[in-house]
Every structure is written in structure tokens, then in C-alpha cells.
């Protein structure tokens, strides 16, 4: 009876475009699928174990948090926990031990999301918060980059070996790990050697773009991520403002400094095809909850992400900085939203009524 009364008084509109939160989340997951499958192919069974366990940890944590708050477990259907886990897994090293996976999923959902009040309430991107927290706490495990060992290839570990690696019964064999392009560049810069020579000797731009390189589980193929991102744009799940501003400011800054010194700074094309920049621009910085709501705000936010990322990559202590950059801009989002509002109809940018010559007749 109560429900009927409530529904009787519900105001217009009595029509809807049939969108829903779960459909949005699942479409983002779908857009991530090609890059994810490619990651599975590149890094084999241990990567699949990593991915699945992080996602399951995220979903399980979400379920527990919902139960603890006395909310309906059916909220799980909005697929937001799955997406958070998915994005987190894509940004993690491909061969993570089991405890790192569980910890990552738990941290993202419990601390990154529910401590702030659950879906829509968190200030920081949960996946990036977990990734950065783990990177600082467990720097060795979080920077263990295995070489590409495609499924079906000779070096690819079998099921038992994969399980053994996952449960740390066996350490990752020598020679299986290496340095990412960004890591090598940072080391070169710190060591005072010329970046350009090192890169030219050891890395290929095409491979970097296609993704046949070592790196995070789902971040290596900029091409597949770009395709997924473009599909999201087409589906109008995301708008172009954040990705364009973020990639644009990265390109601008890295181009500028590359012109200053080829030896000291990495070429802009490597910046755009390495690390998590593409995933960050299309999938992470565009997170609805933690990014501004106005178009101007989105442009500022995206440009800020690119700026902070470049500054840390070029002069900071970490080779990769998408997570830090996004978190930094997340913290600014409430401020951006307060200052940069869309211009209202009949008002100027500052909210005062627009001036006009009144047509009132003199009488």
C-alpha cells in the first residue's frame, strides 16, 4: 500500500530513455574486452589467474560491504564492482601473487569506495587508489614485469606452473622479467645517459603501440584500448573532452621538452604509446563519479591529468604516473565542479541575468 501511495505521487516524466547503470558498466567492460584478451594471450595463464582473482575479490568485497550496510545484495547487479576490479586488474603487473590480488580487490572496494559511502560517493578512483597504495607498499611485486610469453609458446608456463607461481610455491624464473620502456628511460635519465639512444636500441614504437611489449596486464596494447575507447565515444558512454584534453596535454608537454633536448626527454610518441596513458585517458580519468560534470570542467580535468602525469614521468620518482595524476585531479574535482559551471540560459558566465535593452514602450 505504501509503495502504491509513493508511486502515485511520483512526478513526471512518465517516460525514460531506457538507460541503466548496469548497462553502462557492462558496455565499458565490453570495450575493455579486446585489450584484456590480448593481455591474456601475451602473459598466459598466470595473467588470467591474476585477472579473475582481482575481479572476484572486488565483487566479494562489494557483497560483504553491502551486507554490512544492510543494503540489498541485488545492488551487485549494477556491475560497478566488476568494472572496478576489471580496471584494476588491467593496470596491475600481469603475474601477481594471490595475496596481492585479493588485497588489491579488497582495498579498491572497501577503502576506495564503501568507506566513502558506496557507489557515487567516493572522491578518488577506487582502482587507482588501490593500485597506488599497493605500489607504495609493495614496490617490488608491483614492478615485476614479466617478458611476453604468449599462450601456446614454449616459454609460456603450464597450468601447474602457473598455479605454483600464483601461490608463490615457485618464484618467477630468472630471465622472465625485464624493464618497461618508461622504467628504462627513468633509469637512464637518473644515470645520466641519453634516453634517445637507449630507446632506439631496445624498443620499437610500432610494438609499443600494438602492445607486444612488457607492461601491465591490460595496458600494453594502446591500439586495442583506443579502439575500445572510440567505441565508448560512439555509444556516448563517455564524452571526448577528458581523453582529448589528457592526450593533448601529454602530447604538447612531451613534444615541447623533446624539442628542448632529445637526449634528456622521451619522444612524445613513446609517451603516448607507453604505460597506462591510453587506458587512463579513455577508461580511468573518465570515471563518472570522480570527474567533473561540466564540459569545461572535463577539459580542465583531462589537461590536468596529462600535466601531472608528464611532470612525474619526466622529473618525479616514478617511471609511470597515470594513477598519481588521476588521483591528484580527483582531489580537485569538487573544486572544479564548484567553480566551473555551465552557463545557464538567460545568465552570463558568472550567473547574473544577461543584460538587454528592454523593449518596454516609453509611456
Amino acid at each position: 500500500m505504501n509503495a502504491i501511495r509513493e508511486s502515485v505521487h511520483r512526478a513526471a516524466p512518465y517516460a525514460h530513455d531506457r538507460s541503466s547503470v548496469d548497462r553502462i558498466m557492462l558496455q565499458v567492460c565490453l570495450a575493455l574486452t579486446p585489450a584484456t584478451l590480448f593481455g591474456f594471450y601475451l602473459f598466459g595463464l598466470p595473467a588470467i589467474l591474476t585477472f579473475v582473482s582481482i575481479c572476484l575479490a572486488a565483487i566479494a568485497t562489494e557483497a560483504i560491504c553491502l551486507l554490512l550496510q544492510g543494503q540489498s545484495i541485488s545492488r551487485l547487479r549494477d556491475a560497478s564492482a566488476l568494472l572496478t576490479g576489471w580496471l584494476l586488474a588491467m593496470s596491475m603487473p600481469p603475474w601477481c601473487p594471490w595475496w596481492l590480488c585479493l588485497g588489491a580487490g579488497f582495498f579498491a572496494i572497501a577503502i576506495g569506495k564503501h568507506l566513502y559511502g558506496g557507489i557515487g560517493q567516493n572522491v578518488f578512483n577506487p582502482a587507482m587508489l588501490a593500485r597506488v597504495a599497493l605500489l607504495i607498499s609493495f614496490p617490488v611485486q608491483m614492478t615485476t614485469w614479466v617478458q611476453v610469453t604468449p599462450l601456446g609458446s614454449e616459454q609460456a608456463p603450464g597450468l601447474l606452473q602457473s598455479l605454483a607461481i600464483f601461490f608463490e610455491q615457485q618464484s618467477i624464473p630468472d630471465g622472465y622479467t625485464g624493464a618497461t620502456l618508461l622504467g628504462a628511460a627513468k633509469a637512464a635519465a637518473n644515470g645520466g645517459s641519453a634516453i634517445s639512444e637507449l630507446v632506439a636500441d631496445n624498443y620499437s614504437l610500432t610494438q609499443s603501440f600494438l602492445g607486444n611489449t612488457l607492461g601491465s596486464l591490460g595496458e600494453t596494447s594502446e591500439l586495442l584500448i583506443l579502439l575500445g575507447g572510440l567505441w565508448l565515444l560512439r555509444r556516448r558512454i563517455i564524452s571526448w573532452h577528458i581523453p582529448v584534453a589528457m592526450l593533448g596535454s601529454t602530447l604538447l608537454l612531451s613534444g615541447l621538452f623533446y624539442m628542448v633536448s632529445h637526449a634528456q626527454y622521451l619522444s612524445p610518441w613513446y609517451h603516448l604509446t607507453s604505460g597506462g596513458v591510453m587506458l587512463g585517458a579513455f577508461f580511468i580519468a573518465t570515471d563518472y563519479v570522480t570527474s567533473p560534470s561540466s564540459t569545461a570542467g572535463k577539459l580542465i580535468f583531462g589537461a590536468g591529468c596529462g600535466l601531472v602525469m608528464y611532470v612525474i614521468r619526466a622529473w618525479g620518482g616514478f617511471p609511470e604516473a597515470v594513477g598519481f595524476a588521476v588521483l591528484f585531479m580527483n582531489a580537485l574535482t569538487p573544486l572544479i565542479d564548484r567553480v566551473v559551471k555551465p552557463r545557464a540560459y538567460g545568465r552570463d558566465q558568472r550567473g547574473n541575468p544577461i543584460k538587454n535593452v528592454s523593449a518596454r514602450k516609453a509611456s
Partner: protein
């Protein structure tokens, strides 16, 4: 905003094909009883001019305008007044409202209509009086008295008179059919309004999904200069005056201002038709075109219904219901209101009666906001609905105002696109209501304060006067004169009169 017709907006499924190709049903069976609520307009209730037992003729005045924004009410058919009593009004509150109930005698006998001169030869003020007498209000649903708008318009240099034929609400085709079937009458009405407000040009704006109506009006307008028929993009809420003005003239109405301020006046095609009927034939507003549609209506049509006809009757005329509707609405699905009872009458502002299925309404339990900002993109007013709702929810109305509540037109575009199904408009209606209440109570407080202050002042004055009188009395013996004695007595008299 160069080349952009409207900021934001949405494209709901129009569903107009249900009724757009079908002619208006003119001959409805005469209802046995007609119910005329005394409040069918923006202002206060009109005052009944008839008593129970009176016989009335079709077109006879039965209630007179009760105030500046009120309107006259006329008998839609001949018969007897059988009651003046509260009925369930066609308003979502379901609260009763006083109505005149007329039992028809089946003869549908007109009162003697005046013989009229050419309206275009009369003075604008005379014509505005006639529009007022005919009880015409905004027929697009705004129910603002048309005469008031015309008189306001006369005080301004109106460059453009926009006739609103955009009809952006889904399902509704009453304006579309009216334009197709009675184009000459609309052009005639437009010429009269132009004459009244002395507008420079007339633009009839029609959404580009109504080619037949556009063609009909273009043909009818051809013999007359300065009447342009123009298509505007099909986009909700194009029918909102502010958005239509922007699309047609490229100008924005300043916040807090009126369209008059920028030399524009907007009238709905239904209103224009009613004005034509009143000025050309002396017929008051006693009927209107209503779209009867929705998935639960057997044979959706437009009907020409007498004001006061029970909704049940007009649904019956369209083959009745084939299922229990999930929602029974008056108006369109975007801004319409729930009708509490199928026996509620058709009123002047009733553009449509919709019986929608559950599937059409697509209502869900709301979930938390994920800040996707689709509402920001959809808002035609450039507001931030998600922040407005967030603040309205916790009764922080000042911030809600800042994020745009003060400019919100309640068009529902935001709620239409919300993937979390948050009833945003409901929050805004609530907040606007609370703010109004607050303003009223502030006024009241101020008034009380002023009265108290005045009273205190008066008491002070009296005290001072008494003191002066006492002093005068004391001084009296010492000084001489009897003449002074009369003075304090007079003061005392004044005092008692005042208190």
C-alpha cells in the same frame, strides 16, 4: 550559440504516429453531466454566477474571473445547474475542488451570439477585452489568461509574435491535427493577435516532424504578408517558450525576465484558434482538442471535447481501454500530471489524456547517483541537475538555487535520461514548493514585525502624550488661565479613540 537551436534537450520516442494520421473526432455523444472546476487557470478561483437549479444556455457565463490572473467560465452546453460542490479535480493531489455541475438537456442550445463587426476594424483594447470575456487561457497547458498576456504585450515594442506549433511532447498531436484541419482559422487568429499587440512579424514555429501541418499553414498564410511558417528541429522541450524563442530568434530571455523584454510574445496554436473563435464568432472557450492516446487506449484519436466532459467519456469515444493503465495522465508523458480518477473532467489546459502501459512508462526503483552528468548534458537551461538534487535532498535550498533551481523549468529532460532513475523533477518540485512556503512565511513575519513595530511606536507616542498631559496638569495651578485646561482633555480623547 551560433547555429545551435537549443542547448541540451532530449529526443524521446515521439509515438505521435498513434494519432497523427487520424482526423479529429468532432461529434462526441453529449455527456449527461459536465463538471466545471472553478480553477482552470493560473490565478485564484473564479466566482460562480449561477445557482443550483438555474437553467443555462450553451456559451452562457457561469463563473466570473476572481482576480487578475483568473478567467471566466462558460456553460459548454445547455442544461440545468444541478450542483456547485467539491469534486475530485484533475490534479495529482486528488484533493477536491469546487465545480459547477451542469446536467445537459440534450438540446445543446446556444445563447444568442452577438453579431460581430470585422474584428480587425476594432481597437486593440476592445479586442483584448473580448478575449478576456471569452475566458481564454494558454491552451498548451500553461493556463495563463491570454488577455493578460496580450495587454502585457501592448506595453512593449513587440517585434516578433511566435505562434507555438512545435508540440514537442511525445504522443500529443492535438496541435498537429488542429493545424492540419483548421489552418485558415489559426492564420486568422494570428492576424488578430498581431493586430492587438501591433507586432512587426508573425512566425509560426512547427517542429520539422509535422510536414503536413507545415504545408497546410504555409498555404493558409500565403495570402497575407508578414506571416512566416518556419520549421524548428524536433527536440524536446522545443515547445517551452524560452527554448522556442532561442531557436527562432537566437536570443535568450534574461533570467527573471519575460519574453516581452526582448520584444517577443509566444502564443500556442490552440490559444490562437480559441481567440479566432471568440473574436470572429463571439464563441467563448467551451471546448478543446484533446489527444487520447497511449498503449492502453483501444483506438487512439484526437477528440474535440466540451470542457467538463469526464475523461471516462472521451476514452469511451476512442474505443475504451484494452488494459489497466500503469499511468493515467493529463498532458504529455514528459510534463503531464497523474489524473487521480477516470471521472475527472477535461479542463481548459488538458492537451491530452494518456493511458500508458507499464512498458511505456519504464519506471524503476531509483539507485544512487553515479554522477554520469547526462542530466547536465540534457538540461536545456544549462543547469546542473545532479547537484541541484543532491542539495535539495538535504534541504540545502540555497545551494540548490545556486546550481540552477531558480531557473529550472521542470521539463524533465534530466530525469528522462537518468540511468539511475532518480526522480529529479520530484526533488525540484519539492524544493520549489518549500522555497515558496519559506518566502511566504518570511513575508508574513515581516508583516507581523512591521505591525508590532507600529504598535510599539504608537504606545510610546501615547506614553509621551500622557506624560506631557500630566506635566501640563501639574503646571496648571501654578500658572493661570482656564484656556489651557481644554487642551489635555482633547489629547486624552484622541488617545482613547486611537487605542
Amino acid at each position: 550559440m551560433f547555429g545551435i537551436a537549443m542547448r541540451g534537450g532530449v529526443h524521446p520516442e515521439t509515438k505521435k504516429d498513434l494519432t497523427a494520421e487520424r482526423s479529429i473526432i468532432r461529434q462526441l455523444p453529449l455527456p449527461k453531466r459536465l463538471y466545471l472546476p472553478l480553477s482552470q487557470h493560473a490565478g485564484i478561483e473564479s466566482r460562480a454566477q449561477v445557482q443550483v437549479g438555474d437553467r443555462v444556455l450553451k456559451g452562457q457565463l457561469v463563473a466570473r474571473s476572481g482576480g487578475p490572473l483568473s478567467a471566466n467560465l462558460h456553460a459548454p452546453t445547455s442544461g440545468t445547474v444541478v450542483a456547485i460542490e467539491p469534486i475530485i479535480a484533475p490534479h495529482p493531489s486528488g484533493l477536491p475542488a469546487v465545480a459547477i455541475v451542469i446536467e445537459s438537456d440534450g438540446e445543446d442550445q446556444w445563447m444568442t451570439l452577438p453579431t460581430l463587426d470585422d474584428p480587425l476594424a476594432l481597437s486593440p483594447d476592445e479586442l483584448a477585452d473580448k478575449v478576456e470575456a471569452a475566458g481564454i487561457v494558454g491552451m498548451g497547458g500553461a493556463i495563463f489568461p491570454a488577455a493578460v498576456k496580450l495587454r502585457q504585450g501592448r506595453r512593449f515594442e513587440i517585434k516578433t509574435l511566435i505562434i507555438n506549433g512545435s508540440e514537442c511532447e511525445p504522443y500529443l498531436t492535438c496541435d498537429d491535427r488542429l493545424m492540419q484541419e483548421r489552418a485558415e482559422a489559426i492564420i486568422d487568429g494570428a492576424r488578430m493577435i498581431r493586430h492587438i499587440i501591433e507586432a512587426f512579424e508573425v512566425i509560426i514555429a512547427i517542429e520539422d516532424n509535422k510536414p503536413d501541418a507545415t504545408a497546410a499553414l504555409k498555404k493558409a498564410a500565403a495570402p497575407f504578408g508578414m506571416i512566416e511558417v518556419r520549421n524548428v528541429p524536433t527536440q524536446y522541450p522545443m515547445g517551452s517558450a524560452k527554448q522556442l524563442i532561442q531557436a527562432v530568434t537566437g536570443k535568450e530571455v534574461p533570467a527573471g525576465g519575460r519574453s516581452n523584454d526582448i520584444g517577443v510574445l509566444v502564443h500556442n496554436v490552440g490559444t490562437v484558434y480559441a481567440i479566432h473563435e471568440a473574436l470572429r464568432f463571439g464563441r467563448p472557450l467551451i471546448s478543446r482538442i484533446v489527444t487520447v492516446s497511449g498503449g492502453c487506449v483501444q483506438s487512439p484519436h484526437n477528440v474535440e471535447a466540451l470542457i467538463g466532459t469526464p475523461v471516462r467519456d472521451i476514452i469511451q469515444a476512442c474505443g475504451g481501454l484494452n488494459a489497466t493503465p500503469a499511468r493515467l495522465l493529463m498532458g504529455g508523458p514528459m510534463m503531464g500530471q497523474i489524473i487521480p480518477s477516470i471521472d475527472s473532467p477535461v479542463i481548459k489546459g488538458c492537451t491530452g489524456v494518456l493511458a500508458l502501459t507499464r512498458q511505456e512508462v519504464n519506471e524503476h526503483v531509483p539507485s544512487p547517483c553515479i554522477r554520469c552528468s547526462r542530466c547536465v548534458d540534457a538540461c536545456p537551461m544549462g543547469l546542473v541537475p545532479l547537484e541541484m538534487a543532491k542539495h535539495a535532498k538535504v534541504d540545502d535550498f540555497d545551494n540548490a538555487q545556486q546550481y540552477g533551481l531558480r531557473d529550472c523549468i521542470l521539463c524533465g529532460s534530466c530525469a528522462y535520461v537518468c540511468p539511475s532513475h532518480i526522480p529529479l523533477v520530484q526533488f525540484f518540485e519539492y524544493a520549489k514548493g518549500e522555497l515558496k512556503e519559506r518566502r511566504n512565511s518570511e513575508h508574513k513575519q515581516e508583516y507581523t514585525k512591521r505591525l508590532t513595530e507600529q504598535r510599539n511606536e504608537r504606545i510610546e507616542r501615547e506614553k509621551a502624550a500622557k506624560l506631557a498631559a500630566k506635566k501640563a496638569k501639574k503646571k496648571k495651578p501654578s500658572r493661570q488661565s482656564e484656556a489651557a485646561a481644554s487642551e489635555p482633555a482633547a489629547t486624552a480623547q484622541e488617545e482613547s479613540a486611537e487605542s
